[in-house]
């Protein structure tokens, strides 16, 4: 038996398995996970475009005029400076002015009626909401509606916090666990073992199938959401981005998604072979990857996420909702050099697959224990 023959056998197995990995009903969940960010970005794009068209149709206000609006300006002064707003609403409400405690422990609250008003302006990029109380400006809220930098940051955050840590993680868990453990549960693994192929060839074929499916689905999903992030922005800004770092960013995002599939795939394939309940290692790995940023440098390097994140072109923004105490404990390790990151994951994958090959050679089918 030549190596070429075994490779042909592995490819045949991979082809059969790929059909299952791509088109089975269970794969729907994987597609959903992979495409969800794209749906969100496209939804955001539609929302931005719709708002831009609607507000621009009602007339934009020069940015300088909006910047010149100061706190304590009256509504008339604002109307004079910025002109007619695109939205103008007013209301009356009770406002708490005084609160005091009585001797018996009760509370006395005093209210007064306030005339409220909200005006909204749009300068083509930002929407500015001005809140008045009794005709005087109390609050000025500015929101960037079309901000390419913010959207790129949002993509980096979504990619690293959702896509790598959750979507690819659970997607690979579903795909790769299905390869052996799924066959055990379906009581069909013995058909494969009866085929005239070495078990490690079978393992290679199955891994190849899972890897192809997960890489195509998740890399495709990452690229689609990248495109979804770009499309609503002005063509000049997008063209400048493409001629600059854009193509590199897209490549590295796709590469890190593929590398995550390589790493997580091997781990879950081995877990499906070595353990009857692969949920336990999955939960442990999930917790380990989640607390990755809080661990010492050396321990951070013992995770797939560290190497995969090292390939990401834009560092993920810090979670703004994180409590200050946790933020002080957060100390992400310096990212590994790209070539070392790739080599690191590949080395771990080879090691894990080698262990899995040992396990599959020794495996004895006992469906009754499943």
């Amino acid at each position: 038996m030549t190596l070429q023959f075994r490779m042909r056998q592995a490819w045949t197995i991979a082809r059969i398995e790929m059909r299952r990995a791509f088109f089975s009903r269970r794969a729907l969940w994987v597609y959903l996970l992979a495409l969800f960010p794209a749906v969100i970005f496209i939804g955001h794009g539609i929302e931005m475009t719709y708002r831009h068209k609607r507000w621009s149709g009602q007339g934009t206000t020069p940015a300088a005029a909006l910047d010149s609006v100061n706190p304590r300006d009256t509504a008339e002064e604002v109307l004079k400076k910025a002109g007619k707003p695109i939205t103008d609403r007013d209301w009356r409400r009770r406002k708490l002015t005084e609160e005091e405690e009585t001797e018996k422990g009760g509370r006395i609250r005093r209210y007064e009626m306030v005339e409220g008003r909200m005006m909204m302006y749009y300068d083509g990029r930002r929407s500015v909401r001005l809140f008045f109380e009794d005709g005087v400006l109390k609050d000025k809220s500015i929101r960037e509606e079309m901000n390419f930098d913010q959207d790129r940051q949002a993509y980096a955050g979504v990619f690293q916090y959702f896509y790598l840590r959750l979507a690819i993680f659970f997607g690979c868990l579903g795909i790769f666990m299905n390869l052996f453990r799924g066959e055990m549960l379906d009581k069909t693994l013995h058909y494969w073992f009866l085929a005239p192929a070495r078990r490690d060839v079978l393992l290679a074929g199955k891994y190849l199938a899972g890897l192809t499916a997960s890489t195509v689905i998740f890399t495709g999903g990452a690229m689609l959401s990248f495109a979804g992030m770009l499309w609503p922005h002005e063509s000049a800004a997008v063209a400048a981005y493409w001629s600059g770092p854009g193509m590199g960013h897209l490549f590295w995002y796709a590469a890190s998604a593929a590398l995550a599939c390589v790493g997580y795939g091997s781990v879950f394939l081995a877990a499906g072979l070595l353990l009857r309940n692969p949920i336990i290692p999955a939960a442990v790995l999930l917790v380990w990857e989640s607390i990755n940023g809080f661990l010492p440098d050396l321990l951070q390097k013992l995770s797939v996420l560290y190497y995969v994140q090292s390939l990401c072109p834009v560092p993920a923004p810090a979670d703004p909702g994180m409590p200050p105490l946790l933020r002080t404990l957060l100390s992400p390790a310096t990212p590994a050099a790209k070539e070392w990151a790739v080599l690191g994951v590949l080395a771990v994958t080879v090691l894990v697959l080698w262990a899995a090959a040992g396990a599959v050679r020794r495996i004895e089918i006992n469906y009754s224990t499943e």
């Binding site: 269970r26 949002a154 979504v158």
Partner: protein, 286 residues
């Protein structure tokens, strides 16, 4: 009477009480669960945090034992709503992992082996079946949620005195109510996952994924649309807000309590619909 003349006749003898019938399933299920090494290990691990909290309560009430304790530190180790909310938050993680381990084995095997007709041929309705299965999880999860919480609260009350208890009884009541609501949500998620996918392993992954992925989805919606209503999609975040409200702790920014409560109610209804659709005593095979 000839055999061919014997038709179906319903059992007419005496029945045990409804509660006794309900408890039959949990009784066996608890026994089986506690035979699982991993569940026992997880239960032990989930007791670590309550033990640490007990140490903290003891320390907070015996500050005089530590010489040179400054006012700042004294303020930091006070037992208040924040302390109980943090306690609940950590224990909530253990409940999810425990539910992922114990929950899928409740319904999935019955569905996979077509055992539901056997259950429903006894004096047991679908509601009884769901309640009985939920009691299995509720009992298990109570051991790591409100039970140690009540112990903590009692310990603090006994150390700090009657005055503390009368001023802070709301913490104890909020803790129990908050945990019971969380147990309901987690149990329903575990049971719906177990009913939705017939494989135990996949159902376990689904329970884990449900909470982690929804949290991720919520953050993603917030980040991309630059809103805060996305947090409504995150059941853990919704529960955190409700706990803060129940215990009187500082409320986090974002949607209000009613919005979060409505999101949880919608989730519960959705999960009940899944259970209602999946738990049928008959199956039509096309």
């Amino acid at each position: 009477m000839a055999v061919y003349k014997r038709g179906y006749q319903r059992y007419q003898g005496p029945l045990t009480g409804r509660f006794a019938r309900l408890m039959a399933m949990p009784r066996f299920a608890w026994e089986r669960l506690l035979q699982q090494r991993l569940v026992v290990i997880m239960l032990c691990l989930s007791m670590l945090w309550p033990l640490l909290c007990m140490g903290f309560v003891y320390l907070a009430n015996h500050l005089d034992l530590i010489p040179g304790m400054g006012g700042g530190l004294e303020k930091m180790v006070s037992i208040n709503a924040k302390f109980f909310v943090v306690f609940m938050n950590i224990q909530a993680i253990f409940t999810v992992i425990l539910a992922a381990m114990a929950g899928p084995g409740l319904i999935a095997p019955d569905l996979a082996n077509n055992a539901l007709p056997l259950y429903f041929s006894r004096p047991m309705t679908r509601v009884d079946y769901v309640l009985a299965r939920m009691m299995v999880l509720a009992g298990l999860l109570s051991m790591v949620t409100w039970a140690p919480g009540v112990v903590l609260f009692t310990m603090q009350s006994s150390m700090a005195g009657w005055g503390w208890f009368t001023g802070n009884w709301r913490l104890g009541a909020g803790l129990v109510a908050g945990f019971l609501l969380w147990i309901l949500v987690v149990s329903l998620v575990a049971m719906a996952s177990s009913a939705y996918v017939k494989w135990r392993i996949i159902a376990g992954a689904l329970v884990l994924g449900f909470f982690f992925i929804l949290a991720g989805v919520a953050e993603m919606v917030n980040a991309v649309f630059r809103v805060d209503w996305g947090s409504l999609l995150n059941p853990s975040r919704s529960m955190y807000h409700i706990w803060c409200r129940l215990l009187g702790a500082e409320l986090p920014e974002g949607p209000g309590t009613w919005e979060y409560a409505s999101a949880i109610a919608a989730l519960v209804v959705l999960l009940l619909v899944v259970l209602e659709r999946k738990l049928r005593p008959v199956e039509v095979i096309k």
